[in-house]
Symmetry: C2
Subunit: 461 residues, 2 copies
């Protein structure tokens, strides 16, 4: 094949050019992040605390001090189904905006689940498989993570059992069916299969569930069976590390067309898509090889970086996890029901939180109406209907591109398009019908809810 | 980029390698196909008969005797958004089947609409645009064609007005929303916007519509407004010609890995996906450069090639179109409501029909349960949930691969995967729940319905 040219829309890598190592940002951080604490003792957790839920290879990756971790051949072989993922030059979006900026997007919607989630689901299934585990249990909200894990389990002959928040289970059957098509089993949560679920149902027989309850159910099943483990789709260090293949590829792809990114934008929920794209670029920045601005875009309805507190908090709603130092709105804060369900998390990956605290990354919050507007413009110009989550990054990219139109700057903007919106079209229907509501974070009600939630942060905060 | 290797899953072309001409099979047919006739006179139709609906460039392509037609730069530039489309080697499906066959699939699900339809929607929009047309009107059943045309119109600043069969409009809102996201307008059909629609509604206020009625409405609107034209998504010669970019790319891609296809399989509804892949391979066969078997796979519920009559018939249900010599079940035959809505057409492209009659291609019919079984196997091994339509081709590919397992033959099988099933997951839900019903074509009821429909073929039959 000939090299990509500047006229091209697609900047592709061959499978031989696919990166073979994940990048471990932990090793290069300017300062070390605070440890994860045991909620009972207040002492740093050790591998033995995590062993009932995770295989030792993943526990080791969680605290690794190596700069790179080799990707196992068996994982690379599954990655080949969709990786390297394409980098696209958004010529038509640029034209629609009449901007001198050059906009690129790294597209993860080509994966089996339609998002970046399989990048970590596949290695998690693999490491569990070689540890002798037979089944993975997990929770899912809208269903992206459950889909990714079911696909990954199908590749390694593992069973996959998913507790899906009842409200999503009932209202969005397509994701459930996709999980089942990949061979997974889905239970609405709360279920009568666990003590946690039965306790909720005894008190609230009509409970529509929550991510916190679903986590409790999956963790209970995993902890109670030595051949079943638990898998998490974001937040943790090893999850973000698996996602760095996104950024490593993007570096190679931009180099192919002789470009250096001036601005990187990505949406942040738990932080794994954002970290996956950004960490390799931060490494290059710290090494003095480039100096991009790195900007996180969070939903205005759930602004953990821009409005939350940097404090120790639980990762789940029910308060069962270890304590993590992170930007948080409080573990029992309930965000407004926006369409970008994947960004509706009270906390933020500790690695992203730490980098934000250190001034290595910026953050902005966007109301969803602005995001859908950018999503529709993107669909009509580039031909891809984005998931609601990455429309947040697109809104920030559009904002910057319009600034460039004013200033005449030819900035290179790279945005993370972490998934397609084929299973989120109902949200576009609401937007086109004019029935999208934005959260007003400045009002007394939201401020009171935040204050109340922050008041309930655990003692170590 | 380095060349693709045999280990690779993906066989990609750069944008510079994208074919720049469509192939016109009409020029190379061993014998000429029968002309299209005017239903009133019984004489061949001329350009002037088609001019109220189509721009002259497309009418010329319909009867062109050139072997190739150059693809306009403006069309190539839109094609770049997703073309060249990938060819994949199905290593994991082969392993799941334990077959010595080598299976390749050409994937059109990467397009903006998620199917092959934009390959012709884009040039149709372009030629209408340069002819001064402001709006395209069309019909859509499940919504694939409407989505493709809405996207194409968004690229050239045309309005797009779609009449969608009421039953689909009500039951499958995601496709409607996708059309609207691309900027199109959707009306449920029958509508009160046309004489045809009002006449139906007067008699049947609760009509759930049909493709035939929707065609009538779109054609009426196009015929009544000099700045509005009509667009058709399959069957016609120019539509199939636009789709030949699929086969031209696949030829280049197989050559990259040094393979020659022994068997090509594709599903057939109107015939455009099938013709698009097959015609360039047939050219190579006629030139003595290869000798593949070419097999059409139709749904057992709508077997126009294997059970229909080769006769002059109307293209639409209402009997408004010119008369086309084709394999047909009769224009008012109503197929059982299978999930592969795109294959539920009473007739067949005249080019495909002619080739079948000449013995250039084979045909088999598959019941949908066998097709969904292949689709689920494919999803779990290759990570793509296929649309119900191409599961027909997959079922035939699986059948052949299992034959190869018996015989030990290392056949090269190439199958057309013409779209993803993200908006068809309800069908997979039915299959996984065991509620899929197969048509029994051999029973008296179906045979009587066919006989009755064939009795109503027009006089020229």
């Amino acid at each position: 094949m000939s090299e990509a040219s500047v006229r091209d829309h697609k900047i592709l890598l061959t499978e031989d050019e696919m990166p073979t190592r994940w990048y471990n940002v932990l090793r290069d951080l300017p300062t070390p992040p605070p440890p994860v604490l045991h909620p009972g003792t207040g002492q740093p957790v050790g591998p033995e605390d995590l062993a009932p839920l995770f295989p030792m290879d993943l526990i080791a990756q969680e605290v690794s001090s190596e700069q790179y971790v080799d990707i196992p051949d068996e994982v690379l072989d599954v990655y080949r189904l969709w990786r390297p993922s394409p980098l696209y030059r958004a010529h038509r979006l640029e034209r629609a905006l009449d901007t001198p900026a050059r906009i690129y997007y790294k597209y993860e919607g080509v994966s089996p689940a339609g998002s970046h989630k399989p990048n970590t689901a596949v290695p998690q299934a693999y490491y569990n498989k070689i540890a002798g585990i037979k089944k993975l249990a997990t929770e899912t909200g809208a269903g992206q993570w459950g889909t990714a894990l079911a696909f990954a389990c199908s590749q390694f002959g593992l069973e996959c059992e998913v507790w899906q928040v009842r409200a999503s289970y009932d209202q969005k059957p397509y994701r459930r069916i996709m999980i089942e098509t990949f061979g997974g089993t889905v239970h609405p949560s709360p279920s009568d299969l666990t003590n946690a679920g039965r306790a909720i149902l005894a008190e609230h027989p009509d409970s529509t569930g929550s991510l916190g309850i679903a986590i409790s159910e999956a963790v209970e099943v995993a902890a109670g069976d030595p051949t079943t483990n638990y898998a998490l789709g974001s937040v943790l260090n090893h999850v973000l590390m698996h996602q760095t293949i996104i950024g490593e590829e993007a570096l190679l792809q931009l180099a192919k067309v002789g470009e250096q990114a001036d601005l990187l934008v990505g949406c942040t929920g738990g932080g794994s898509n954002f970290g996956g794209l950004m960490f390799p670029f931060l490494r290059e920045k710290w090494a003095g090889r480039m100096s991009p601005t790195v900007r996180a875009v969070e939903p205005a309805a759930c602004p953990s970086l821009t409005q939350g507190r940097y404090a120790y908090d639980f990762g789940d709603t029910a308060g069962m996890t270890p304590l993590i130092k992170m930007h948080t709105l409080g573990h029992d804060f309930v965000p407004d029901p926006i369409h970008a369900g994947g960004l509706r998390y009270h906390g933020m990956s500790p690695l992203i939180s730490h980098l934000y605290e250190e001034g290595e990354i910026e953050a902005v919050a966007k109301p969803q109406s602005e995001c859908f507007k950018a999503g529709v413009l993107f669909a009509r110009s580039e031909g891809i209907v984005p998931a609601p989550e990455p429309t947040h990054a697109l809104a920030a990219a559009v904002e910057e591109a319009l600034r460039c139109k004013e200033s005449g700057e030819e900035k290179v903007i790279l945005t993370a398009l972490c998934g397609h919106g084929h299973l989120d079209l109902a949200a576009y229907g609401d937007y086109l019908a004019g029935s999208i509501v934005d959260s007003d974070w400045g009002d007394a009600e939201h401020q009171a809810a935040l204050a109340a939630a922050l008041d309930k942060l655990p003692a170590f905060a």
